[in-house]
Structure formats: C-alpha cells, structure tokens
C-alpha cells in the first residue's frame, strides 16, 4: 500500500517546486511584469449565434491610452486555430458561434483603459436561431454551424451480431446516461506576457501543455517562421487538459507585434468560464445483455457528445469514449456508435480522462444493473466477465498483454472499504434517515494518443560545462510533479544527488521535441528516453574519467558529485567531479533521442497499445432528508508499473479522485440559451478540503510483465476515471436509487420525513 510519508520501500521526495507553490511565493507566468508593458483585452461575442454585419472600432482607437485595436483584418496569416483541425477564428469575420468568440482585441497603457476601449467597440449582430442541444443540431432543419454541417465526427465499432444476440439473452438492461459539462477550474486562469524581440522575433510566456504545438499554431497565424518564436510555458497553475489548445496567445502575440511593446493578457475567471474549454457533456444510451450464468453476451452503445462551437480535440475525445464504451470485458457481440456534434454551447475539448470518464460511468453502471438482475454480487459479476491478459484490446486491436485487471480487482475485493458492504445500511438509530452504502468500479485506460495520431517522444541528456547532469524534455510542469519525477529517475540511474541535476522543461528554446504533456504519456516517454540515453552518457563520462585518472573503467561508476572508484576490497572514493569530467574536453557531452510513443501494430484509429488498470471502492453516506451525499472512505487500486515518484503518484490519484467527486456530485457549467449561468466559483461548485475524506488507501500495483520495455505508466488520469460509477453503486446500495445523471440530483435521493420514518421503523422490525 502506498501511503503518505512512507520512506522505506519508496523514495519519498518533496517536489522542488512545492514550497514556493504552497507559500504563494512562486511567480507564475501571469505574474510577470516587464518594463513598458501594455495590457491586452479581448472583446468576446455578446450573443451565442449570429452573423456579424459590422464592426466599428474608430471610437475605441481614439480612446485615451489605447495603442492598438485589432480585428480579423489585422491577422497576417491564417485567421484560425485548432490542434487537429484549425476551424476556430482568431477573430470572427462575419459570424459568431459561441459566447466566447473573439471579435476584437485592444492593447492599452492600463487594464482599465483597455476595458474601457472594449466598451466603445460597436458590433452589429443579426441573430441566427440558437443550436443548444446536440440532438436538435442533428435534425434536418437545424441551422448549420459549419460548411460541413453539424457533425464533427462519427465513430463506429462492431463485432459479432448484437442485434441477433440480444434475442438469446436472459436479462437485458437498457438505460440512458447523462454527464455534465465539467470545468477544469484551474487555479491560474489563462494568460501570459508577449514580448517582441529583435528582427521580428517573439517570446511567448504563456501556459500550454505543448510548447512546440503552440509555436507551430502561432507561426501559422502570424505568418512567421516557427524558429522566430520562443515559447516559455512553465510553471503552470493547473491545466487538466484545458490549456492544451491555444487560448489568449494569438491576441497577445498579434498585439505585441503590432505595437512593438510587450503585452500582458490575463483572463478574469469570468472570461475564463466564457471562452475556455469544458469536458464534453455526453448522452450515452446503452443496451447490454447476459446469459443465464451472468456472462455478457451483447452490448450496444450510442454516444452523443456536445462538442460546442469548434473542433479542437473533439474527434479524438469521441474516439477515446468509443474505445472505453464496452469496458474491459469479454463480450462477443458489440456495437458502438458515436457522434460528436457542433452546437452553440461553448467549446468542449481536452479534459483529464479524455472522454473515458463519461463512457466508464455508463458502462460500469450497466454492469451494476446486470449483476442485480442476475442475482450476483456486482464485483463477482465483473470477475466472471473480465477480459484475459492476452485478449485483443477493446477495438479488437493487438495490445501489450497485461494482467493488471485481476490485480486491481483483487485489491478492491480484499479492501477494508469493500468489506463494509455487508454491514448495516444504518449509521446510527438516532438518525435513521442517514443511510450508508458501498460501491466499486473498475476501468482499463489507454495511455498515449492512440493509433493514427502523431505521438512523437524524445529527450536530451547531457553533462553541462558547469558539471550538471541535465535532462531536457518538452514537458510542462502544471502541478503533476514532473520535475520531481525526472529527478528521481535520474538519481536512480546515476546514483547521484539532487544537486548534480538540472532539469530543463517548458521552453522551446532549450528543449528537444518530446511531444505533449498529455494522455498520461510523459512518464513513459521519460523512461524510454532515459533508458536509451543514460547508458550512453554514463559510459562516455566513465571512459573520460578512466583516461584522465588511469584507473580501469570497469571499477568506475557514477555517483554523488562525480565518478567513483570502487576497488575490489576497499572503500569507494570519488575520483573526479562531474565538472572536472565536463572540462576534460572541448564540446558538451550531449545525447538526444527521438522515437514514437508505443502503438498497436494494428491500424485501428485511436486504439491504444499500452493500458493501465484502475479500480476504486467507495463508501458513502446519504442523508435522505436532503439528498446530500458524503464520501466516507475510498480505496484506489492502480496498476501502472513502478511508482517512480511516490509523492507525485499519491498526489495524482488523490487529486484525480477529488476532481471525479466534483464531476459526480456538484460540478456542471450550466448554460441557458448559450450563456453561462455559472460564471464564477461561487456558483460553479468544486469540492473543498471539507468535502474530501481522509480515509483513503492507495494500492499501487507495481509489477510489470517480465522484460517490459516501457516502464512506469502515466497515472495522471486513472485516479479520476472510475469514481463516478463507484459512487453511483454505493448510493444504490444505500438507498436503492439507480443513478443515470451526473452530477447526482439530490431530489432523487430524498424522501418525506414521515415516510422515511415509517420505512426505517419497518426495516428495523424486519431485521
């Protein structure tokens, strides 16, 4: 069991960026100020769907302190952005599709002057009927948001003949599930500082999960070479997928180049809610059947995702949801159909779990209902139906065989939290309206971007002239603890001390391409890169040391501060420092590697090759007077290979789990007629520490298959994927209601006090 502060089996290492973050002294990029800096502001659409008839900026241009007012006419390159399919206007020309669409931007001497100038820009709109529901958007008479229609993407997977197979099923469950528009709610809202450099260059200090991708997109917008742009993007005050796409960068870049001055932009929370990405709300219709023994026979799933106004990563998110809509079970007959639909409901995009959380909630809920119909314990029901290690992946593709499922299944079955399932539902006879219940769920979650999407990895390892062992990756630090993880990986390999290390991330001027910090991929990329680079650098340093000292290379090894000699029967001594080794020759010792994230040999678009497994058991308390739910205890089991950085590992699982708690119990960015009604964190309710139970155990199952070349798997998402269906089962266990809609509505769990009393007295008499 991985517990806080454990120092024996694991290296418990505080994160280097921790103290500054906790004490509030850390300077984020949005805290930067540079001399002569102007303030930028963006005018967003006043209406969610309309043609723009006219934009008049003359008054704003004449306002005091205003240095530039930009519209679509001022974009030198492509007036569009979007990671996969650039279809979101930097500035709208003749049409707006959501309430966050940008129409103009202002740079002024002060923030107030910029805000005032925005109020002077006049825009004439001609409303277009609102498309605020994905099902309505698919109707033939719906207004079309894009030339290609309202369908962004469709998916389909079929195996066997489910239609016929349902006929042979003994029990069939058919149900519809809804999931909310969750907001990333990062602490630091989007923003940054944009600094023009000599010869038309530009330095961007703004958070992103993939600096090189931002550079590519910005170069395309500005019509300049990628090399003329430097992106500095860490540290980041949280992202969770929400800052992977461009946000304010185009405006900052355009304003800085136009005015020749540094420009700062920083979204208020309100602007962040209005313009920013959200998790895709999905409607999932599922039909699943079993035979007399309780074995799964047929499964059908239809997914409708509300992708909002523009593409961003809507298509890959739907692919991921499709791949996780049948669960890690053996089912001979399967049909999954997915559609991601454009609407005027904000923009949905990347979010921790990437479409898996929605699908896993639905499919695991199906398992719970089927177990009940079959008269089986829901956990035994799963064991009976789990896939085997060498089975093909969910989309029929070959995957790296993994035994992680039985391991996490067993962990929950043996957990203390799960053992509470059999005990009384009643907490206390003096409050018979408080009911307790236990539930659990599991998932097998893909890592990496999946087949068909470029997923390049790599890194650089060097000995600097200052004698530091330096690892450089294009990763970002957004709170996940990647710096500490890299340090631990290097300390283990070089057996050096932390002082010998230099970690370079988050700056396109200094790091090689290692791809995006997303999709639970960074740890695996780092492991693969270092497995290749460490022996090279180590051998070279030892060779140089041997030559310089005349000692035999086989007796030398890297260690704290430099190269050490270990005589056959004597005390080890340090022969030469890293700095001395570095100065033994002219050029820097540096090694680079590039490779692709491991993918399936089978060409199944979006299908993964590496999977991690996660299961969670949870105990809840439902107050039937109010329908309020409280989490009492949680047991997380995660099979993702070695816990390289135990503190980071626990942090990721606990954090992901609390985020999933919000998804299940309180979070939903409400829209009415295309306008957000939860514009700040006073109405958009995320869990606070008082909602978090201290009774958490985490079982990290660290074994990997023998000779596994891929090493530790990422755990950034798996803590969040299975909690919702586990809570739903626990609530059912407590009060008997089946949950179909998240966040769970209290109305569905409450009773009238006189009735509650009668039932609980009756219950007491029965027992």
């Amino acid at each position: 069991m991985l517990t806080r502060g454990e120092r024996t089996a694991h290296k418990w290492r505080g994160r280097p960026d921790g103290p500054a973050k906790v004490s509030g002294s850390l300077t984020y990029l949005t805290d930067l100020s540079v001399p002569g800096m102007l303030y930028g502001k963006v005018l967003r659409s006043a209406v969610p769907h309309a043609f723009i008839l006219d934009i008049r900026t003359a008054k704003a241009e004449r306002a005091p302190g205003v240095r530039a007012v930009l519209t679509h006419k001022d974009v030198p390159g492509l007036n569009r952005f979007g990671i996969v399919n650039p279809d979101q206007p930097v500035f709208c020309e003749d049409r707006v599709r959501y309430i966050g669409d940008a129409i103009a931007a202002v740079a002024a001497d002060t923030k107030e002057a910029a805000e005032y100038a925005l109020s002077l820009i006049e825009v004439d709109y001609e409303p277009i009927p609102l498309v605020d529901d994905p099902e309505k958007a698919l109707q033939p008479d719906a207004p079309l948001l894009h030339p290609g229609g309202n369908v962004l993407h469709r998916t389909s997977y079929r195996k066997g003949d489910p239609d016929e197979a349902f006929g042979s099923c003994v029990h069939v469950v058919e149900e519809t599930y809804w999931t909310p528009r969750q907001m990333h709610a990062y602490m630091e809202t989007e923003g940054g500082v944009f600094v023009p450099e000599e010869e038309g260059g530009l330095t961007v200090y703004a958070a992103t999960q993939h600096g090189f991708k931002d550079r590519m997109q910005l170069a395309r917008i500005l019509a300049v070479s990628e090399e003329s742009i430097r992106v500095v993007s860490s540290p980041i005050g949280g992202s969770f997928g929400g800052k992977d796409e461009l946000n304010v960068q185009p405006y900052g870049a355009l304003l800085a180049l136009k005015t020749g001055n540094p420009v700062k932009l920083h979204n208020s929370r309100r602007e962040s809610v209005r313009a920013g990405l959200k998790r895709h709300p999905m409607k999932l219709v599922m039909k699943t059947g079993i035979d007399a023994e309780g074995r799964l026979v047929a499964h059908r799933a239809e997914i409708i995702a509300d992708t909002g106004a523009y593409s961003t990563l809507g298509a890959p998110v739907l692919n991921f949801a499709t791949e996780h809509a049948m669960g890690p079970y053996r089912i001979p007959h399967i049909a999954v159909e997915g559609v991601s639909v454009f609407t005027n409901n904000g923009v949905s995009g990347e979010f921790r779990g990437f479409g898996g959380n929605q699908a896993i909630f639905a499919v695991e809920s199906q398992m719970n209902r089927l177990a009940e119909l079959a008269g089986m314990d829901p956990w035994q029901f799963r064991r009976l139906n789990l896939r085997e290690a060498a089975d093909p992946g969910p989309l029929g593709q070959r995957i790296l065989p993994t035994d992680c499922l039985p391991a996490v299944w067993r962990s929950v079955a043996d957990s203390e939290v799960w053992s509470r399932r059999r005990s009384s539902r009643l907490r206390d006879a003096s409050e018979p309206w408080v009911k307790r219940g236990v539930g659990a769920a599991l998932a097998m979650h893909g890592s990496g971007l999946g087949y068909g999407i470029p997923d390049p990895g790599g890194g650089r390892l060097s000995l600097t002239r200052e004698g530091k062992l330096e690892a450089a990756f294009s990763f970002e630090e957004f709170g996940q603890g990647v710096i500490a993880t890299l340090e631990l990986m290097l300390m283990e390999r070089f057996r050096c001390s932390a002082d010998d290390l230099s970690i370079v991330i988050g700056d396109t001027a200094k790091v090689p391409h290692s791809g995006s910090s997303t999709a639970s991929r960074s740890t695996t990329i780092a492991h693969m890169a270092l497995s290749k680079l460490h022996p090279q650098l180590s051998a070279r340093m030892i060779g140089l040391a041997a030559k310089a000292t005349g000692k035999p290379a086989p007796l030398l090894s890297t260690g704290p501060g430099g190269i050490w000699l270990q005589p056959e029967n004597g005390k080890a001594e340090r022969l030469i420092t890293y700095k001395e080794v570095a100065l033994l020759q002219e050029e820097e010792l540096a090694y680079e590697t590039e490779f692709h994230f491991p993918v399936s040999p089978d060409p199944v678009i979006g299908g993964h090759y590496l999977y991690t497994c996660a299961a969670v058991a949870v105990e809840v308390e439902v107050n039937t007077l109010t329908g309020a739910i409280k989490l009492l205890g949680k047991h997380h089991a995660v099979a993702a290979g070695p816990a390289v950085n135990p503190m980071g590992y626990i942090g990721q699982i606990e954090g992901g789990s609390v985020m999933a708690q919000g998804f299940t119990l309180s979070e939903d960015a409400l829209l009415q007629d295309g306008h957000y009604k939860t514009e700040n964190l006073d109405t958009y309710i995320i869990p606070t520490i008082r909602d978090v139970t201290e009774d958490v155990t985490l079982h990290a199952i660290e074994e990997l298959p023998q000779d596994d070349p891929y090493g530790p798997r990422g755990i950034g998402e798996v803590g969040s994927v299975a909690l919702a269906p586990a809570i739903a089962l626990a609530v059912h266990d407590a009060v008997g209601s089946w949950i179909t809609r998240l966040p769970i509505r209290r109305e569905e769990l409450m009773g009238a006090f006189p009735g509650i009393l009668k039932r609980s007295c009756k219950g007491a008499d029965d027992s």
Binding site: P64, D109, E431, K630, N680, T683, A752, P754
Partner: protein, 305 residues
Amino acid sequence: MAMEMTNAPKYPEVWQPAAAEEAWLLKRKWGEAACYVSGGTLLRTQWENGVKPPPLHIISLESVHELQGVQLTEGHVSVGAAVTLNECRSNGALQRYGGLLIEAIEQIAAPSIRYLATIGGNISSLVGDSIPALMAMDAKLLIVRGPARHTVPIRDWVQGAEGAREPDDIIGRVLIPASASASPLTEHDIHAQHDEWFQFYEKVGRREAFTPSLVTIAGVGRLSEDGVMQEIRLSAGGGAALPDRLPEAEKALSGSRLSEAMLSLIHQTINSQYRAAEDLFAGSEYRKEASANLITSRLWKLMKS
C-alpha cells in the same frame, strides 16, 4: 505613463462619517447614487456580477461609533451592526447567549470573508444565513432613521412589514434577548440540566463548506416537563427567498405534545406554507421538502431524547 483618462470610468467617492445621522444624511443627499458599505463583501460580488452598478458615492459605516462593539445590557446582548462575523464568533456574551447565531456564522462563507463581513451587512442582504437564526432567537433591530431610533422585530424588517424598512435606513444594532431561550444549550444538555429550552440550526448547501445556502432552518422552543411544546419559534430561508418564520407550524405545535402524527402534520404544514426560492440549483419543491424534513427530524430527535 502620464496620460489623460478623460472618458475613462470614475472611481467612486468614499465618505467616512463618524455619526450615524451624518451617514443617513449623506445617503439622503445622494439618493440612488450612494450606497452604504460595511465589509463590502457582498457588494463587491454584486458589482462584479453586474447585479448592481458601482455607486458614485460610497458611504462607509466602518467608523460610525453607534455601530460598534458588543454589549451585554439588561435583558439583551446588543451587537453593533459594524461588528464583523469573526468578532461575533469570538465574543463572550454571544458565546453565552447567541449560540444559534454563532452556529450560523460558522457556516457563512470562509474565514477570509468573515474577517471583513459584518452582521449588519449580512442582515441587510435580506438573505443572509444569520437571519433564520436571529428570527428563531426573537432578535430585534435598532434602526437609525435620521435623528430617530426605533426597534423592530427582525422578521418585520426582513419581510418589509408596513413602515418597518425604508430605503435609507441604517441597521444600528442587533438586540438578542439574553434569556434562557437564547443560552447555548444543545439537545444533549437538556436532560442533564433539567432545562426545557431547546434550539437548533441547520444549513444545507451544495458542498460541506463555503457554499451558498440551499436551505437554512432554525428553531427555538420550550418543552414543559409533561412534554408540551411552548414558545416555539421556527424559521426557514435559503436561496434568494426572504427568510421567514413559520407561524402556522408554530401554532400547531404550541400547547401540544410531540407525536409522530403531530410531526406529520407539521411536515405538511411547512411544506404548504413556506414560500421557497427557485433557481437553477434547486427547485422550490426541493427546498420546501428539505426544510420540512430538517425541522421535523429535529423535533423527532427531541421527542426521542
């Protein structure tokens, strides 16, 4: 950088009168263009949310002498309207006689906000979580209206009874009866001390802490030795609805004994009487049912104890 901001937005003018009447006169003078400010915590969100435009004149009540301090006078704890929620919480007299109020305050906002927010501002908001507690405690308000002072029951003031509340009124002080009914006994103490008074307060929000209220209820009453309910005061609030007493439920209870049949009746009465708020986060049906449930469950516990 030097520049002229001729057209740019103006910052409001801030007035800091030391006398209540002076504050009142300023408000009279500027009318709609002025606004009293105590902690400013609620106003700040209203300005930012566009619920109210920022005024041209801010009349700070911070330095008004009459609104300061907590005194134990004969029969009352008198709390100045400018006393912050944090100060209320740690005040000895209130700890002795203001148990329900302190319980309410502990669930208002978060420590940083309670550090600035005042009791006067909470009541003036008309939806503050302290109001149901103060109604159940039978608190009165000392109102400043020019040179005149008068006291009104908090219910009349909140509900806007005839002549009770005028736009320029300043809440001067909150008067809490320093009687047995307001002493901080919990249900558990009742048996131990052979005291017949009981009281309860409960707030339900969308999470455990730092949350707007969906439903807030409070109750104070006396249970005679032979189990008859007397002097009972019940109240409910939550959301945008004005908190109110629940007179019909009070009437049904007073003089009668608690029984399950009685509780059913009370439940029904509250459900049909209480005018609950309705918003995107909870319907009025939910709020009525939850209020009725919370109050009757508290009475049931009393009956069982």
